[in-house]
Symmetry: C2
Subunit: 400 residues, 2 copies
DNA sequence: CCACTTTGTTTGTTCTTTTTACTAACTGAA
DNA sequence: TTCAGTTAGTAAAAAGAACAAACAAAGTGG
């Protein structure tokens, strides 16, 4: 994705109006139930400006009016909410073990979802299947009859910044794939915003963007699956995903934790992925690729060999988390990915190391919250859908 | 520093005007010699709007008109430049071994500078001395009679985001110091913008901000001195420094490179600083704190023990650089700090490891440029001055 | 010398927010 | 019940900023 404006930012009157409409919509999205007066106070705009902006957003179906609020000695305000009936956002994740699809509302509520197992195959075959599944999803009852705002795809590898190219997906065996171009012929009638992004970055974005109430200043999502990657999203106002000049930001699986350690598939030695990742655990325990790693391991958790392997991986994960803390210091860390299903034997050593060491430097009790996701299945797909919405609200298009 | 606006961003007409004035000024700053027509084309504004904005910036002394440009078949445009005669920016770095002060123009040209050696002492004594030196600097010939826009201070430790508190400076023995408050009584007549930031972050900012021509999308400055820290600045439009929720972003000296390794002063084991930093080199070679590390080592570079120590430190530095590449992927890395004076024995292993491994993952020839600073003496101080200018141009104040 | 091109300014228009005044709707006390 | 006080939202005129178009200025090139 990325709506980077390389040129220097100046603005005309149209830009200003759009900015204010975006601000109003974002405020209502993040704090459902705000009144016009609340918005005017928070945004430092006059009641008249807010009133006009709200009116046009109501007319276009982005907002709806709710109930009257309790009065505090004067005329009660009218609550404003997102109109969640009219639009739908599509998101999909192409994972190593399958496809995950979601259709969700403007607030991120999942209307329909689908999880299709799939062994790695060519981009073309994957795109065709995904196209069919998305087509089917769009015709399910709760999705049908809604206007689709666009489609976001999350992919397991670095994306070229500025152009929709998946540079590399080692666990799929893909390289330099323009996945949207492959998908488009299978969904000729789906218009709106199309975008693609790295899986962990989409997940990070969605975890921050679809949250209501107090929004953290930044959030880092760590995705531990076949490989290990991360996404950092920053800025409570307009959340931006850090991509890096080659899209390599967040490739923490290839940060070196053990100089002179095992060889990684990237050719370097001692990468984090050689210590903690689906494939390193497989390698350590001799589990074949055909078997589902998690399903194979869950019944074997009592075995000492498994426990030792997972504890070592967990310790490496803890170091990885601490290193992220000391190099980027996110407001919050969210840990997801399929490996989280392995539970305590993997996670306890990681969490313990992180908690133990994160406050050493400053010596204050203030802790950075680290949350382990309960069910990571649709997080990246939902995050990609969130990115679609954000690019419409903040992007250059005049869709609203 | 940090002019973070927590609230949601909307704007009025005044804001729009200011935005456009900022854009014009920034464009001229970054590309000296632009004409009004160039600006109008690049910024997507009309000639009339640009003309009015330029006129007011000329009247206020921020810009000056230069020579006529070569005609390309029509009326030649009038080149615009920053007016560097009127203002001065002050910057200072409080380092472990002394104070560095600069006074520079809007374009970052150093008008006067001073380097004062000083053994670590209390914040109060340091502030008093710095106040005197700054006072003297302001009365040097090239600085005198200029209007001072403000003062930026770079400090060797993490700063609380949002408030001007140095949380910790282990190598000075300071903790929770409101340094600006200590300094202010000694410079009662210096008004303008006062700010403080971490030394590596100031340096990173200055390295990007005072560059003209093509600006990298992001830049990471790695400062290798008594400790080791980094600063990441992103956004070619409005460059922002990543700080993190506790100001710990960039504390790469405490990322763990060697699990179970040596104990660090932070209490954890295997931190990067135990492998590469001024203090770890001292420890490895038994050099007392009273001696100047670099001056002591330079005559001893032929000794095998020194060579081995520096090579090992260099290898760790290379890993650190590669880890930054794979976790944040800056457009450019700049390596500075006093240790760079040790030259090839330290730097060659680092650069070699980095060049060798940075393209493994994507397999493309595209390299991220890594530049070693020739003279890092005033880089952080000058960067702090740059931050003053940026906070005036982009910040909330109405100074221009 | 003249047609043509490009720069920069002037003038009046358009667009957006602001100001001010007003209506609406509720609280609480007389 | 009434009425002063308070807060929410709207309407119309006013102000401010950018815009469009015409124009003046200053070159080029035949």
């Amino acid at each position: 994705m990325s709506h980077r404006n390389q040129q220097h930012k100046a603005g005309d009157l149209h830009f200003l109006k759009r900015l204010n409409r975006s601000a109003i919509l974002e405020m209502v999205r993040r704090t459902p139930g705000l009144t016009r007066a609340d918005i005017a106070a928070q945004a430092q705009l006059t009641k008249a400006t807010v009133g006009a902006g709200v009116q046009s957003l109501l007319n276009q179906g982005w907002l709806r009016e709710g109930e009257l609020q309790k009065s505090s000695g004067g005329r009660p305000g009218r609550a404003l909410h997102l109109n969640e009936e009219q639009h739908v956002l599509l998101g999909a994740e192409v994972g190593v073990h399958g496809l995950r699809l979601v259709a969700c509302t403007l607030a991120g509520q999942v209307l329909a979802s689908h999880h299709e197992h799939l062994v790695p195959t060519t981009p073309e075959v994957t795109a065709e299947l995904l196209g069919k599944l998305l087509h089917a999803l769009m015709h399910e009852a709760p999705v049908k009859n809604r206007h689709c705002l666009g489609l976001g795809i999350a992919l397991p590898g670095p994306i070229s910044p500025g152009q929709p190219v998946l540079r590399l997906a080692p666990n799929l065996g893909w390289r330099d794939i323009r996945f949207l171009d492959l998908l488009r012929p299978h969904l000729p009638r789906l218009d709106g915003t199309w975008l693609m992004d790295n899986e962990a970055k989409s997940a990070a974005f969605g975890e921050l963007y679809f949250r209501t109430g107090t929004i953290p200043e930044s959030l880092m999502y760590v995705s531990a699956g076949t490989g290990i990657g991360s996404g950092m999203v920053e800025g409570s106002h307009l959340p931006l995903v850090a991509r890096g000049i080659q899209g390599l930001a967040g490739e923490i699986g290839h940060t070196v934790l053990q100089p002179g350690g095992l060889y990684c598939h990237c050719g370097n030695r001692g990468c984090a992925e050689t210590l903690v990742s689906g494939w390193s655990i497989r390698a350590a325990l001799g589990i074949a690729e055909e078997e589902d790693l998690i399903e194979t391991l869950l019944p074997r958790m009592h075995e000492p060999e498994v426990q030792v392997t997972l504890r070592r991986a967990g310790e490496a994960l803890g170091i990885l988390l601490l290193n992220l803390h000391h190099s980027q210091n996110p407001s919050e860390i969210v840990l997801g990915g399929s490996l989280t299903r392995l539970g305590a034997p993997l996670l306890d050593p990681a969490l313990h190391y992180f908690q133990e060491n994160q406050t050493r430097l400053l010596g204050t009790p203030q802790q950075v919250p680290l949350r382990v996701v309960e069910d990571a299945t649709f997080i990246a797909a939902r995050g990609a859908a969130a990115q679609v919405l954000a690019s419409i609200i903040h992007g250059p298009s005049d869709l609203f």
